[in-house]
C-alpha cells in the first residue's frame, strides 16, 4: 500500500501513439480528446506544408498537423487506425494526425531522460525527453515546439544549435 502511494507521487500519465512503428507520447494533461478521422480534411492553400488542413469539430474549426510531415519522416499513407489527437497548445486547439493511438500509460518520472540529439529520426528540438521502460522506448513530444506554426525559422535555429 505504502509502496503504491510512493509510486503514484512519482508518475506522470502519457498517451502513447504510433508514427509508423515507433512509439511517441504526449502528456495527458495537454490532450483534449481523440477523434476518428471519419470526415475529410479540408485543405488550406498556402498554409505551412505540415498543416494537412482543417476539420469541423462540433462547430469549431481545428487545424490538423501531420506529424510525419512535421518531422520530415517518410511513412506510409493514413490507414484504418489513423487518429487525430486534439491537444491544447497555448490558447489554441490543434489536431495531430497519428497512425494509431495505443494506450494511456503511467510512467515513473525517474524513467524520463533528456532526449539525445536525434531519436528515431526526430530532432531533439521537438522533444521533451524519452521514457525508458523495461522493453520500450517512448519519445515524448514538446508540443509547444512541435506545433509551433513558425516552422522554418525555428527549425533552422534548432539545426544550428
Amino acid at each position: 500500500m505504502k509502496e503504491k502511494k510512493e509510486k503514484q507521487e512519482e508518475t506522470t500519465q502519457i498517451i502513447v501513439f504510433k508514427l509508423g512503428e515507433e512509439e511517441f507520447g504526449v502528456n495527458i494533461l495537454q490532450v483534449r480528446e481523440i477523434e476518428k478521422l471519419d470526415q475529410g480534411i479540408t485543405r488550406v492553400p498556402r498554409a505551412p506544408h505540415f498543416v494537412e488542413g482543417i476539420i469541423n469539430l462540433r462547430g469549431e474549426i481545428i487545424p490538423i498537423v501531420d506529424l510525419r510531415a512535421r518531422f520530415g519522416l517518410t511513412l506510409p499513407e493514413l490507414g484504418y487506425n489513423s487518429r487525430v489527437i486534439i491537444v491544447e497548445v497555448g490558447e489554441a486547439l490543434v489536431g495531430m494526425l497519428v497512425d494509431a493511438v495505443e494506450e494511456v500509460l503511467r510512467v515513473p518520472v525517474s524513467a524520463i531522460e533528456p532526449a539525445p540529439a536525434i531519436t528515431k529520426g526526430v530532432d531533439s528540438y521537438f522533444l521533451s525527453g524519452v521514457a525508458k521502460l523495461e522493453d520500450r522506448l517512448i519519445v515524448l513530444l514538446n508540443l509547444e515546439r512541435t506545433l509551433s506554426p513558425e516552422e522554418e525559422k525555428e527549425l533552422s535555429e534548432a539545426e544550428l544549435g
Binding site: P45, R46, I61
Partner: protein, 664 residues
C-alpha cells in the same frame, strides 16, 4: 463600500455623460443663450457629480462640483457665456475624460486637477464678488424658483374638484442631503401619496424625479379630501424626508403654464419655462448588456443557422411534405431571430461621429484655419464591433482633411474660395453595406508631390510611375511609409499614415476609395459590411472543394467563351463592357492543382472589385448564394493571404472564405 461590481455601469454612464457634455458645450458655443442646452449640460454635470461621489472618485466629483458651480451661475444669468469661459469648460471636460481614463485604469489619484478647478473657481468667485450679495447662493436661488404652474385644462379640473369639496395642496418636500437614490425615493413618495388623493402635477416632472434630475427638493400639487396637516405629517414620516412645507391654494390664483411660448422677458421666467416645457421624453426603457453576451448570442445564432442549413439539406433528401413544411417554418424563425440579434448589435454611427465636431474645432484652432463640419446620416446603424474599429481610421482621415486638405484662410481667399473650409461627413446604407464619405473642399491631392515623395521614399521607380494612371498615383498614399505632408505637424504627423487606415478598413472586410481633384478637394469613401459575423457569399466550386466569396467584393458574375480570352503580356484577359478585364484562374491564385476550368469552353467568371481595379476569377462552377457565419482559422494558422476565414456548410463540410482583394 465595494464598488468594483458597479464600475462597469459607472464607466458606461460616465462615457455617455461626457459625450453629452461635449456635444452640448459645442452647441452652447454656437448659441450662448439657449437655456435648453445649458440645462442639459447642467444635468449631465450634476449626475456625474453624484455618481462619482457615490463611487468614491473624489477627484472627479470635485471637478464636476466646480463645474456645476459655474454652470448654475450661467443658468441664473449671473454669468455670461464668453469664449474664455467656454475654453475653460472644455478644459474641465478634457480633464474629466482623463479622470475617467484614470479610473478605468485604477490610477485616478495621479491626475492633477488643481489647475482646472482654479480656473473654474475664478469664474464662480469673480461673479460672487461683483454681485456682493452673499445670501442668494445657488441652492437658495433654485429653491425659490420652484413654482408649480398648471395647464388651463388642469385648472378647470382643479376648479371642479374644489367645488366638490377637495382642496388643492402644494407640498414642498425636502429630502435629506445625504439621501442616496433620490430618484427612487421621490418615486416612492409619489406612489404612497397617491393613496390620499390625486396628484395633478409635480415640479420637476415625475419623469425628471425618477431620473434624479433634481436637487434635493420638489413640489407636489395634489387634490385631496384629507386635511393639509395630515398630508404633511404623512410625508414627514417617510424615510429620507427632511422637511415638508404645505400650503392650500385657491384655484383662482394658480399660475398658468404657457407651453412652448418663447419669452425672453425675464431670465427667471425663461428658466422656469425650459424646465417645464422640456418635451416629455418618450425614450423607451433600455437595458445595458455586456457586449460579450451579445457576441455569445451571435455565435449561438450562427450555430443555429448552420444547423438549419443542415436540416434543410436532410429534409430535401427525405421528400417528406410535413417535414419540409416544419423545416421551412424553422427556417423563417431562424432568419427572424438572426435579424433581431443583428439589430440588437447595431449602434448608430453617431457614436463615433459625435466626437468629430470637437476634434475639428480643436484642429481648426490649432492650425489657424476656419473649418465647418457638416454631418449627415449620423443615425445610420452599424454593428458595434465595426463601430469601435472605424473610429481611429476616421479620426485620421479627418485630421488629414483639416491639416492637409483645407487651406489657410488667405490661400482660400486667393483661390477665390469662401474662407471657411467645409468638411462633409456623410453616412448611409446601401444594400448590405454602409458607406461613409468624408469630403473636403480643400486643396486636393497634388499628383506631382505624391510622385516626388514616392520616388524619394523608394516606393516606386521612375519607369513604373510613368506608366501609372492618375488614380493609381493617388492610391500610392495608401502604401506603407508614405506621408505627403511637407512638415510633420502635431496633428497628422504621428507616425501613422493612410496605410494604417487602409489596413484597418480592409481587416473589417471593407474598401477605401479616394477621389481627388487638385484645387477642388478630396473625397474618401469607405464601404463597410453591416456586420462582421454573418456575411452573404457566393459559393463556388473548384475541383473537389467549395469556396465562399463575400458578396461585398463581387461586382458581377459573367460567362466567358474560351474564344474570347486573349493573352496580353502573357496574362489572360478578356474584353468586358469595353474594358480589358484581367483574368486569374482561381487554382493559380490558391496554388492548388485540381480544377476543371482549363478543360471547359464556357467559363464561369466572378468579377471582383477592390475599389481600384476589377479582376475576373475563373472558377469551375457557380453554385449558389448563401449567408454564412465567419469562423476564424484561429491563431494557429493566423493570417494566410487570400483567405478570410472558414465557414461550416449545411452538410457539415468546411468551405474556406476567400479574400480576393489582394490580387484584384
Amino acid at each position: 463600500m465595494d464598488v468594483s461590481q458597479y464600475l462597469n455601469v459607472f464607466m458606461g454612464e460616465c462615457q455617455e455623460h461626457l459625450q453629452t457634455l461635449n456635444q452640448s458645450l459645442l452647441a452652447l458655443e454656437q448659441e450662448p443663450n439657449n437655456m435648453d442646452i445649458l440645462n442639459s449640460i447642467f444635468r449631465a454635470a450634476h449626475t456625474l457629480k453624484g455618481a462619482s461621489a457615490t463611487m468614491g472618485f473624489n477627484k472627479m466629483s470635485n471637478v464636476t462640483h466646480a463645474l456645476e458651480d459655474v454652470l448654475s451661475l450661467l443658468r441664473q444669468n449671473e454669468l455670461q457665456v464668453s469664449a474664455e469661459l467656454v475654453n475653460v469648460l472644455f478644459e474641465a471636460l478634457d480633464l474629466l475624460e482623463v479622470l475617467a481614463q484614470g479610473i478605468a485604469e485604477g490610477r485616478e489619484e495621479d491626475v492633477e486637477i488643481a489647475g482646472v478647478i482654479q480656473s473654474l473657481q475664478k469664474f464662480s468667485s469673480k461673479n460672487q464678488d461683483q454681485e456682493g450679495k452673499a445670501e442668494p447662493g445657488p441652492q437658495k436661488e433654485r429653491r425659490k424658483n420652484l413654482q408649480l404652474r398648471y395647464l388651463p385644462a388642469e385648472i378647470e379640473q382643479i376648479k371642479k374638484a374644489v367645488e366638490e369639496g377637495l382642496t388643492l395642496n402644494h407640498l414642498h418636500v425636502y429630502l435629506q442631503e445625504e439621501c442616496l437614490l433620490k430618484g427612487a425615493r421621490a418615486f416612492m413618495i409619489l406612489r404612497e401619496l397617491e393613496a390620499h388623493g390625486e396628484i395633478v402635477r409635480t415640479i420637476p416632472t415625475s419623469k425628471e424625479l425618477e431620473d434624479e434630475h433634481f436637487e434635493n427638493d420638489f413640489i407636489i400639487g395634489i387634490l385631496s379630501k384629507k386635511p393639509l396637516d395630515f398630508l404633511v405629517r404623512f410625508l414627514e414620516k417617510m424615510l429620507d424626508v427632511a422637511k415638508v412645507e404645505g400650503e392650500i391654494l385657491n384655484p383662482e390664483t394658480l399660475l398658468v403654464e404657457r407651453r412652448g411660448v418663447e419669452t425672453k422677458t425675464s431670465p427667471d421666467q425663461d428658466h422656469q419655462k425650459t424646465s417645464l416645457v422640456k418635451a416629455p421624453s418618450n425614450v423607451s426603457p433600455t437595458v445595458r448588456v455586456d457586449i460579450r453576451k451579445l457576441d455569445d448570442l451571435m455565435n449561438l445564432v450562427g450555430e443555429l443557422v448552420i444547423t438549419r442549413s443542415r436540416l434543410e439539406q436532410l429534409s430535401s433528401e427525405k421528400k417528406d411534405q410535413v417535414l419540409a413544411e416544419t423545416v421551412e417554418q424553422l427556417s423563417r424563425l431562424t432568419m427572424d431571430l438572426r435579424d433581431q440579434v443583428l439589430k440588437t448589435r447595431m449602434v448608430p454611427v453617431d457614436h463615433v461621429f459625435s466626437r468629430f465636431p470637437r476634434l475639428v474645432r480643436d484642429l481648426a484652432k490649432e492650425t489657424g484655419k476656419e473649418v465647418q463640419l457638416h454631418i449627415s446620416g449620423a443615425e445610420t446603424e452599424l454593428d458595434r464591433t465595426v463601430i469601435d474599429e472605424i473610429a481611429d481610421p476616421l479620426v485620421h482621415i479627418i485630421r488629414n482633411s483639416v491639416d492637409h486638405g483645407i487651406e489657410k484662410p488667405d490661400e482660400r481667399k486667393a483661390a477665390g474660395k469662401p474662407v471657411p473650409g467645409i468638411i462633409e461627413l456623410n453616412a448611409y446604407q446601401a444594400g448590405n453595406n454602409v458607406i461613409i464619405e468624408v469630403t473636403d473642399d480643400g486643396a486636393g491631392l497634388n499628383l506631382e508631390k505624391i510622385k516626388a515623395k514616392a520616388l524619394e521614399r523608394g516606393i516606386v521607380t521612375n519607369e513604373v510611375l510613368e506608366n501609372m494612371a492618375e488614380e493609381e498615383v493617388m492610391n500610392l498614399i495608401f502604401l506603407p511609409g508614405f506621408s505627403t505632408s511637407q512638415q510633420v505637424t502635431d496633428i497628422s504627423g504621428r507616425g501613422v499614415g493612410m496605410d494604417v487606415v487602409k489596413t484597418k478598413i480592409t481587416n473589417l472586410g471593407g474598401i477605401v476609395q479616394l477621389h481627388s481633384q487638385e484645387g477642388e478637394g478630396t473625397k474618401i469613401t469607405i464601404r463597410l459590411p453591416l456586420t462582421l459575423a454573418i456575411i452573404q457569399t457566393l459559393i463556388v466550386q473548384l475541383g473537389n472543394d467549395v469556396f465562399a466569396i463575400p458578396s461585398t467584393l463581387i461586382d458581377q458574375t459573367i460567362s466567358v467563351d474560351k474564344k474570347d480570352i486573349k493573352l496580353l503580356r502573357n496574362r489572360e484577359v478578356t474584353f468586358h463592357r469595353g474594358e480589358v478585364l484581367p483574368l486569374v484562374r482561381l487554382q493559380e491564385f490558391l496554388e492548388v492543382a485540381e480544377a476543371k476550368n482549363s478543360m471547359l469552353d464556357e467559363l464561369d467568371v466572378v468579377v471582383v472589385s477592390n475599389g481600384e481595379r476589377r479582376v475576373g476569377f475563373v472558377v469551375d462552377t457557380l453554385l449558389r448564394q448563401q449567408d454564412v457565419v465567419i469562423k476564424s482559422l484561429g491563431t494557429y494558422l493566423g493570417n494566410i493571404p487570400g483567405i478570410a476565414g472558414a465557414t461550416i456548410l449545411g452538410n457539415g463540410k468546411i468551405a474556406l472564405i476567400l479574400d480576393l482583394r489582394s490580387v484584384a
